[in-house]
């Protein structure tokens, strides 16, 4: 148990840590593969990004190795997207992620570790196009 407490403490020290920004261009081929993978035939997605595409475009490399000392595996708890501008083919997007929160919850089926990530997506004109809040769970 003390090992688990120590993992939570060490992870809480990472709150506010910002990952190195990642950059990617929205390519027609990637949009096509993504739309096919989700099974959405809407022709709009040949030139514009569907609602969840940004996660696929620029994965944020914020690997918290110590989190893997907790529990057996990862689960995705949820995602919240906020959209400010459409994302189109050819846009150059910079994603910057940070650790927003870390906490532990104990329920009837045991303890879970929650890690909240926030990512800002900015286009080539310096305008924020979307913001994502994701909840990663160790169980």
């Amino acid at each position: 148990m003390s090992a688990t407490v120590s993992v939570v403490h060490r992870l809480r020290a990472r709150i506010g840590v910002v990952a190195p920004p990642t950059e990617a261009t929205v390519e027609a081929g990637h949009l096509k593969r993504f739309a096919e993978a989700i099974g959405d035939p809407n022709t709009r997605w040949t030139s514009e990004a569907p609602p969840t595409f940004l996660i696929a475009l620029a994965p944020v490399s914020l690997h918290l190795a110590e989190a893997e000392e907790y529990g057996k595996g990862w689960l995705n708890g949820g995602n919240r997207f906020e959209y400010f501008e459409p994302v189109k083919v050819g846009d150059r997007i910079t994603a910057t992620g940070r650790v927003a929160d870390v906490y532990e919850k104990t329920g009837s089926s045991g303890s879970l570790l929650f890690i909240i990530f926030e990512t800002d997506y900015v286009n080539q004109h310096g305008r924020t196009v979307a913001r994502l809040r994701g909840t990663a769970i160790r169980r």
Partner: protein, 130 residues
């Protein structure tokens, strides 16, 4: 703008397969083994490979954008994953209008497994332009 509280979105039924999970893993760049390796999934106490939460989010995103069309734009979209879903079983996306205030519309959306359990819950806000 012909949108009223209580209005239901046309249902969207998806039929995810293991092939689709591999396709999605590639398109998203998420190669966590619980989505394509049965033995690995079982080793972490899952019944077998499971759908990516974000694939279910994409299904619900399609439910909303199919309904919205070019009548407006999506402003927020939030999903919470409450249960696991396995390939080979239909996944039904549903939603309804919960609030209309001027051109701002709020929706409740959810995904149901074949036993009608709501395994994904979500909300969306849209701004209508016509």
């Amino acid at each position: 703008m012909n949108v009223q509280v209580g209005q239901e979105l046309p249902e969207l039924v998806k039929h995810p397969t293991t092939r689709q999970l591999v396709q999605y893993a590639g398109a998203q760049g998420d190669f966590y083994e619980i989505h394509y390796d049965q033995a690995y999934a079982q080793s972490v106490a899952l019944p077998g490979v499971i759908l990516h939460g974000l694939l279910k989010a994409a299904f619900l995103g399609q439910l909303v954008t199919d309904w919205l069309g070019d009548r407006g734009s999506l402003k927020t979209f939030e999903v919470s994953y409450r249960g696991i879903d396995q390939p080979g079983r239909p996944y039904c996306c549903r939603g309804r209008v919960t609030k209309v205030e001027g051109d701002q519309v709020e929706l409740e959306v959810w995904g149901e497994d074949s036993d009608s359990n709501r395994t994904t819950l979500g909300t969306a806000t849209v701004e209508m332009t016509s």
